[in-house]
Symmetry: C2
DNA sequence: CTATCTGCAAACGTTTTGCAACACG
DNA sequence: CGTGTTGCAAAACGTTTGCAGATAG
């Protein structure tokens, strides 16, 4: 996996981002360093980095993909009002209820809530 | 919510479908009854029916939306090879680990596996 | 020197939307 | 009659891809 300047920059953007950046977020920051970097390059590198396990892809239903620098096991909680995403510890899943012969590979779990900020502003879910 | 013939047909297609149809599946079946029904009509009606709680939307990351006639609480298991979807009983979620002041509204859980058919054919995940 | 990568632009698959004509109560 | 719906076509959205030239090792 050759580390081009662009790839290294994209990785460092994800690692330094406070939260779970979308491709758009990452592209905007990358443009500060490479004025002419295209979306193709950003998408391609994020795919390479996440396929290689260097970063993690976070695919929330109905939202553009986000990326996560945190590789250790955890889940995500999503505000239904503002779309904000936060990390939560991984919740125990009782897989004992599954048919015995099913071989579980992985899972994807999102917990939906209204975050404190949105509660304060008295917003309600759509 | 006025029940047009098209809306009623779409609802009955979802209710009679064995599994979790995509919009494409539903559209194909709807065309048997209304040769000129458009995708717009199908999407619009599925949105209205699921927003109203008559059917359930199943949004698996990286797949087109599916719909589910089953309204009672359950989760879905997805084959990473063939994309097949099956119902599984709702798994206990230990929400005790969440920050105390967070108000959970709902969650979305997908368990990924290789289904029996794909195992038989010795397929492996991508 | 060659394999890989870049920027750009076009294409992709899914879903939504604008609109004039139509159906229903 | 008027509100809500249809069919159609075009647009929107996020993402991928083809390509010719550039870069890394």
């Amino acid at each position: 996996m050759g580390m081009t300047k662009q790839r290294a920059a994209i990785l460092s953007i994800v690692r330094n981002f406070n939260g779970h950046p979308t491709v758009e977020d990452i592209h905007a920051l990358a443009k500060e360093r490479f004025a002419h970097i295209g979306t193709g390059t950003v998408y391609r590198n994020l795919n390479i980095l996440s396929d290689g396990g260097t970063i993690r892809r976070v695919q929330i239903p109905n939202q553009p993909v986000r990326y996560d620098k945190m590789l250790s096991e955890h889940e995500h909680i999503v505000c239904v009002k503002c779309g904000g995403v936060a990390d939560i510890p991984s919740l125990e899943l009782d897989l004992g209820k599954l048919p015995a012969d099913v071989d579980v590979l992985s899972h994807s779990l999102f917990v939906y809530c209204i975050c404190k900020d949105c509660l304060k502003q008295n917003r309600r879910p759509d």
